[in-house]
Symmetry: C2
Subunit: 217 residues, 2 copies
DNA sequence: CAAAAACTTGACTAGTTGGTCAAAATGCAG
DNA sequence: CTGCATTTTGACCAACTAGTCAAGTTTTTG
């Protein structure tokens, strides 16, 4: 994403000042925290403004509608969130590629749980703000990678498995640790915070899925 | 859960009339639809009242607070939702027991997606209304079944696998089809509605997980 | 069938919240 | 330093929403 740094263009409507850049960032960071915790309806502009350290009218000077903040946040998050899938290399070793993908997803769940929750909440409520994204961007990408996996199965490099369901399973499992964090903590208690927990999780998930799809016979 | 059907007890405060029974049911059914779609904050009492076919004051006659409806609904749903886990038989064949469990969960996701979404939404937002349930009821049950699975692993009937992560994986994967239904539809399109879809899903999920935990060597 | 109990609702209130506006404060180019 | 553009905010408003209330209607019961 290029940032335009025009100077003398009188007619250019989208010049971005230093203060704008700082404040938009403050707002979006605050909004991610609040939206991911309380959802769209459960979040008030005042909450975001307070967390961002500015008055509500000032916040509305940068984002005229609450919806604008929310959509901007989702767009900013989604591309990044999907990046690991795009990186799956059709020419690489299947098991190795999927191991890398799952590992990346588990890391993201641990380092950016708010992003995962923001997205989960949106989809859970019917994805009103991103249904276009799902059909126009996500679907083609998944179709492409599903074709790769299907080819791998055809070549006997993976056990026969439906590629779409495999992808869903990886998403579901990895994001579970971010989205259902409270539940995971309620059950596993203090283990969750401990240093090796992420590695232990990755190990368990990788072990089941990779053994589940390793070619047999 | 026993329903008390007292007749002559003057001091009994909890007698339930015919009309009460009907209307509470109407309200809870309507509320499940609305809450599971819009979340707690996103739902208005008027919406529920309209869907239930009664006036708002009348609804509030049965449930004095919005929160009451929500909590009642969660309690009613949760026990039923967890039932399949309780049914795992420590003396049965491990693979067979887990196959049955996964199949039951996929069926529930398909027949009661609203219940799954209601629960998912609650946990996603930090489970404010059911944190007690999680620690006092869910955790002991999971601990018990995890011990069973661990024993199975010890006896060589399952590949070495962390029982908690296995349970999380089953939950995540099966509930994904209810909670992320919009996304699944966006990607798989018209297939989702088709007759054999549930069976195909069950087949794919079972294949990966069961092969992932089948004893090796 | 008459009185009591249970049920129902229109009209209302108080609190919240998304968004406006005009005026003040600040930043910045020449 | 000056004047214009950008930024900031207190005060405000209209819409919405959880919950109340008193007065009516229906159901149950003796």
């Amino acid at each position: 994403m290029a940032r335009a740094e025009r100077k003398k263009l009188k007619e250019a409507p989208e010049k971005t000042t230093r203060i704008q850049e700082i404040n938009r960032r403050l707002i979006l960071d605050a909004a991610l925290d609040i939206f991911s915790t309380y959802g769209f309806r459960g979040t008030t502009i005042d909450q975001i403004a307070e967390r961002a350290g500015m008055s509500k009218p000032n916040l509305l000077y940068y984002f005229p509608r609450k919806q604008n903040i929310y959509v901007t946040l989702l767009e900013e998050t989604l591309t990044e969130w999907l990046a690991p899938l795009a990186e799956i290399d059709a020419e690489g070793d299947p098991i190795e590629q999927l191991r890398k993908y799952i590992t990346l997803k588990i890391n993201m769940s641990e380092t950016h749980p708010e992003a995962s929750r923001l997205f989960a909440n949106e989809v859970l409520h019917g994805a009103p703000a991103i249904s276009d994204f799902l059909t126009k961007y996500l679907k083609p990408l998944v179709d492409e990678k599903a074709a790769v996996i299907r080819r791998w199965v055809g070549e006997g490099k993976l056990a026969p498995v439906d590629p779409y369901h495999l992808i869903f399973m990886i998403w579901a499992t990895t994001q579970h640790y971010a989205d259902f964090d409270v539940q995971v903590r309620a059950i596993m208690g203090s283990q969750v915070g401990r240093p090796g927990f992420k590695e232990q999780t990755a190990q368990a998930v990788l072990s089941i899925i990779l053994n589940g799809i390793r070619p047999r016979d």
